[in-house]
Subunit: 278 residues, 2 copies
C-alpha cells in the first residue's frame, strides 16, 4: 500500500512538473515581453502628455509668454534657465533653440510679467521637468527593444509596416498565432472594436480601419481611397503573420513589392469606376 | 495735434503697464504655485500607480511568483536583481527586504517558472523600474515644497489639518480668499461636487464630505459620527482660512484645542440622543 501511494505521488509530481514546464515554455516566447513593451510604450506616451501638461501649466506662472512647439525643449528650458529667466545666456539658449528662436525668447523673458520662482518652488518644478526628460529616455530604451524584438518575433510583418504598429497589432490579437489565423478583415479592424460593436448594435457606420489607420499611406491617403488601401494592407499583413508564425520563411520582400504596386494601382484608378453614393 | 497724440499714447502705455503689474502682482502670490504643486503631486500619484501596474505585469513574465506588498521594493528588486533572479546575493536581498522575506524570495526565485529576461528586455524593463523610483523622488521634492509653502500661505489651516489636504482644499476653492469666504458647509463638501449635483438632480443621498473625508478622524471614525465630525472640521477650517486670508494672525493653537475637545464631546455622546433609523 505504501508503494502504491508512493507511485501515485510520483505520478502527481511528474504531472505538475510537466504542467510547469509547459507554462514556462509558453512564457519563454519573446511574444510576451514584446506585448508588454508596446503597451508600456503607449502608456508612457500618455504619461508624458500628462506630465507636460502639468509642467506647462505650472511654469506658466513664471513665464506665461513662453511658447515652444517642442515639449522636450520646454522641459530643457525649465531645467537650464527656469531659476532666473532674465539671466539667460543667449549663447546657451541658442544651443537649445537655434539662434533666431533664442533671440525671441530672450526678448520675451526680458519683458515677462511672471516673477521668478523662489528656490523651493524651483527645486520642485525642476524635478518635474527633468522627470519629463527621463521619461523620454525610458521611451527611447523601450523603443530600441521594440525595434530589435519585432525583427525577431515578426520579421515579415515588421518589414512591411512600422514596427510600433506591428507590435500593437500583436498586442491586440493576443499572440502571433492568433494574429496569423485571423481573417484579414479582422486585422483591418483590430483596435476599432468599440466602433465596430456600435455599428452592429446601433447600425452606425461601420469602421473601415483600426490600428492600421496609423500607417501613413492610410492616414495621409485620400479619403475615398483609404478603405481600399487598408484592405490591401490587412491582406498582406495577414500573409506576413502566417509566415512569421508558421513557415518562418522571410517573404516580406515580395510582399512589400506586391503591396506597393497594389497601392499604385488603387491610386491610378482613382475616379474611374468610382462607386456611386446614394 | 502731435502732442495730443503723444499724450494719449503715454496714457495708453501707462494703463497697459498698470494692468501688467496688476496681473504680475496677482501671480506673485504663492497661492498659485502651491495649487500647481498639489495638483502635480496628485497627478504623479496616479502616474506612479500606472507605471507600477505596467512594471508588475511585465516583470511577472520573468518572476510570476514574486509578490511584494511595497511597490518601491518591487521596483528596487527589478533594478538590482532583475537580470538574473537566481543569482541573487542573499545578503543584499536582506538589505532590501529584511532577512525573513529575503529567504522566502530567494526560495521562490530558485523554483520560479519564469525564464530570465534577455539583455535587450532587461535594459528596457530596468528603465521602467528605475523611472518608478525617480517618480518617487519627484514626489518627495514636491512634498517638501508643499510642507514649506502651506506653512507660509495657510499657516492656520495647515496647522489643524494635514498640509496635503489643506493644499487640496485651496486648489478646489481656487484661491485663499475664495476658501475664506465660503460657507463652512461648502468647505465640507469641496471635492464631492459630482455626488452633490447628483443629489440635487436625482434625489440620491446627499454626500456628507468631500476632500476632508481623507482626514483620519473622519475616515477612521465610526460611521454614524463621521458627518458630525466633518461638520466640526469644516467649521474650524473656515475660521482658520479667514485668519490666513485676512487677519493674518496665528490662532490655530486655540482652534486645534477647540477641535479636539469638540471631537471628544461627539465621541462621548455617542448613542445618546441618536437619530432613529429604520
Amino acid at each position: 500500500m505504501g508503494s502504491e501511494f508512493e507511485e501515485r505521488e510520483k505520478k502527481r509530481r511528474m504531472l505538475i512538473e510537466r504542467a510547469k514546464s509547459g507554462i514556462a515554455e509558453a512564457y519563454s516566447s519573446e511574444e510576451y515581453p514584446l506585448m508588454q513593451a508596446i503597451s508600456t510604450y503607449l502608456e508612457i506616451d500618455k504619461i508624458m502628455n500628462l506630465v507636460y501638461e502639468r509642467l506647462n501649466e505650472w511654469y506658466s506662472l513664471y513665464f506665461p509668454e513662453l511658447k515652444l512647439s517642442n515639449p522636450e525643449s520646454y522641459a530643457r528650458f525649465v531645467v537650464s534657465f527656469g531659476m532666473d529667466k532674465k539671466k539667460v545666456e543667449k549663447g546657451k539658449l541658442a544651443e537649445l533653440l537655434g539662434s533666431k528662436a533664442a533671440e525671441e525668447v530672450a526678448r520675451l523673458a526680458e519683458q515677462s510679467m511672471g516673477r521668478e520662482p523662489n528656490s523651493d518652488e524651483y527645486v520642485a518644478i525642476k524635478e518635474v521637468a527633468s522627470n519629463y526628460l527621463r521619461l523620454s529616455d525610458v521611451q527611447k530604451a523601450i523603443d530600441a527593444y521594440l525595434a530589435a524584438a519585432t525583427k525577431r518575433v515578426m520579421p515579415n510583418v515588421s518589414y512591411i509596416i512600422d514596427y510600433h504598429i506591428a507590435a500593437e497589432l500583436l498586442g491586440k490579437a493576443g499572440s502571433l498565432e492568433k494574429l496569423a489565423t485571423m481573417p484579414s478583415s479582422t486585422i483591418q479592424l483590430l483596435g476599432a472594436e468599440k466602433a465596430f460593436f456600435k455599428h452592429l448594435k446601433y447600425g452606425s457606420k461601420s469602421p473601415k480601419y483600426g490600428i492600421i489607420f496609423k500607417l501613413a499611406d492610410i492616414s495621409n491617403g485620400k479619403r475615398e481611397l483609404r478603405g481600399k488601401i487598408a484592405r490591401v494592407y490587412a491582406n498582406k499583413i495577414s500573409i506576413a503573420a502566417k509566415a512569421d508564425a508558421f513557415s518562418k520563411r522571410f517573404i516580406a520582400d515580395e510582399l512589400k513589392a506586391g503591396l506597393e504596386s497594389a497601392i499604385k494601382r488603387i491610386q491610378a484608378s482613382e475616379g474611374k469606376g468610382k462607386e456611386h453614393k446614394f
